[in-house]
């Protein structure tokens, strides 16, 4: 069985949803943050892909496109010592419910 991101290796007859949707504000923010991290040399596209591919199947399937980017950026920033998991978790815990 190919890895989770190797979708062409999992043929099935399910229809593909070709509908476009407007990007939401948080998605634009994730995209912008990704650009800033790239400009600052904290990540490149291949690192982001590698981090996305490292997500386990259940997580990969449950996350939307930009949520995968977010998870990958977290992995890379922790890996490079820019932030710790504890710092991120503490910040998340301090946010009001509708901002999580």
């Amino acid at each position: 069985m190919p890895k989770v991101h190797d979708r062409g290796g999992w043929p099935n007859d399910d229809p593909i949803d070709p509908d476009e949707h407007e990007m939401e504000e948080w998605e634009r923010q994730v995209d912008a943050l990704n650009g800033v991290l790239g400009d600052k040399g904290l990540k490149n596209t291949d690192q982001l892909r590698r981090a996305i591919e490292s997500l386990d199947l259940k997580t990969y399937e449950s996350l939307a496109y930009y949520e995968k980017w977010t998870a990958a950026m977290e992995i890379l920033l922790i890996e490079q010592g820019v932030m710790t998991k504890e710092e991120i978790d503490a910040k998340m815990a301090s946010l009001p419910q509708d901002k999580k």
Binding site: P2, K3, D6, G8, G9, P11, N44, T45, D46, Q47, R49, R50, E53
Partner: protein, 98 residues
């Protein structure tokens, strides 16, 4: 992009995609591995994503090619037109002579 004078294959060459599933990052999907394709375009050489993915410099640069496959070769019971093709970029370290 750097000079393309190291490219081992030329447009029109038949190639076989190497079979391999390293635990590390690679960009050659399994559905083309072991299949025969033909070089459609030679793009030049680019830093290797297999190194870039880990913060390395990706050097030496790897020649990159656009490879064309017959869809009927890729999918068992393919129902589309027999002339349908799929084109995908593949780095030279995944190509074998036939």
């Amino acid at each position: 992009m750097t000079a393309n004078n190291t490219a081992k294959f030329r447009v029109g060459d038949q190639v076989r995609i190497r079979v391999g599933v390293p635990p590390t990052h690679f960009r050659t999907p399994e559905y083309i591995q072991g299949k025969l394709g033909r070089v459609q375009t030679s793009w030049g050489a680019f830093p290797n994503p297999e190194g870039l993915a880990y913060g390395e410099d990706g050097l030496p640069a790897q020649p990159l090619y656009l490879i064309e496959f017959a869809q009927t070769d890729l999918w068992r019971g393919y129902k589309g037109a027999t002339r349908d093709t799929l084109m995908i970029d593949v780095y030279e370290n995944w190509l074998e002579t036939t």
